[in-house]
Symmetry: C2
Subunit: 290 residues, 2 copies
Amino acid sequence: MGFMTQNSEKNWTGEVADLLRVREGFVLSGVDPDSTPGYADDKDAAAQDLAAGAGDLDELQERLYAQSRSEVSDASVLLVLQAMDSAGKGGIIRHVVGSVDPQGVLLTAFKKPTAEELAHDFLWRIEKRVPQPGFIGVFDRSHYEDVLIGKVRALAAPEEIERRYGAINDFEKRLADGGTRIIKVMLHISYEEQGERLMERLDRPDKHWKYNPGDVDERARWPHYMDAYQTVFERTSTAHAPWFVVPANRKWYARLAVQHLLLGALRGIDPQWPVATFDIAAEKARLAAT
Amino acid sequence: MGFMTQNSEKNWTGEVADLLRVREGFVLSGVDPDSTPGYADDKDAAAQDLAAGAGDLDELQERLYAQSRSEVSDASVLLVLQAMDSAGKGGIIRHVVGSVDPQGVLLTAFKKPTAEELAHDFLWRIEKRVPQPGFIGVFDRSHYEDVLIGKVRALAAPEEIERRYGAINDFEKRLADGGTRIIKVMLHISYEEQGERLMERLDRPDKHWKYNPGDVDERARWPHYMDAYQTVFERTSTAHAPWFVVPANRKWYARLAVQHLLLGALRGIDPQWPVATFDIAAEKARLAAT
């Protein structure tokens, strides 16, 4: 499928999956949220590349779905999105995920757990929403909330938080073994950028509904969240389910980068149109006779 | 919101919701699947209008979602799609529903019922997928399968089929009373058009996966299905949940018409940005202090 990679890759100067991947020794505070790794700082070109990438994504997703109907493939994709408030998860879902045929997407926004969810293990509600073969699953927040806000606000005991890192790795390994390509993304904005974005929500009447006074309380815990993310990366960025930290002060870059990570996962699967399981000539004759 | 209606309505010569609505005395066989009621037969203009309509739909959907967060509105929309094979449900979902932010859409493709679903009343699985406030629910097939294929293939006794029409009307009335605007669409293609579309699936290797030998068996029952649809229209096209028969031999018309029906439902709700429930000035001061 080399022909499909040209349009959406020509302005990349490096492989985004390599540049953004969390590896041993990664330090979150060393990432510049204003940076655009692997891509020339060119917003106009990025808009064109995003549109071209949407076309590639569209065909790859349809192939993935078609392939799954043949029952010879269990492949699926799972995109996990985590971020501080206003970092742009919604924009990624709208502009990147939104370009894919909704028939092949399973989107879940995980909110504050219900009483029923809290009565179960933290992975219980997650398991119910993993993508089936042929689908691109998208988690808007995820089981990582249970080791992020869970840790920062001490919603669980330290030993329970500790247990969860291992449980997450086992869970994700099982998904990966079952054919799911897992891409975990943290959208990384700066503290200053968040301040400006929250202020914009207060300035614009059409954005008031997105604002919650609790957002400022969480903002006060910024350093604690950054520490919790650092630990998450150290404990759960694995070969089968790597983390990618995407600089997100520039929305156009974050969208392009996440689209690129999705494209990479799909190209890795390399889905093919399934071969007909029926006699084509015989079916044509049957149909022609109607 | 008059300003929002201009772009996507300038080529319409009539109100599509009036022209396509199933009323007393409606006869399915009197609808020409090649026709384009209310719209000049102009494919190029239609592509532009569809794009303009997508912009309108996008803003209306966001307002609907925002309004639901305020807890003063229970409004939602439910689009029910029914059709014979290859009539274009998938294209409607991809090109019309797909233009809406996925965060505000709840799409359900109802397949052959599972053993668990069959053990419950036919509306059991439907009830679980009705849209919550703020959402646009989309049913790809629906409870109407239970009075269409259910009747044609005698999957239930005649008196049970008979019971279902009333149960459906009661169910939909309850949804409508709860704030859901229901739009029921049958995409209407001709027998000849279906033959050509199925043959295309056999001709193209990238379409083989969409073909199923059972499609020709169902095609043989075409007149029975048309009769079953006629009865469905007579029994279940109500003031609170009307049916619209959309001529669908021309895909561009069907997509534009369904988009227009959705736009009409949303404009009927006329969703507004909710008023802030917090003290804006106080929050600005709190935020500025961080």
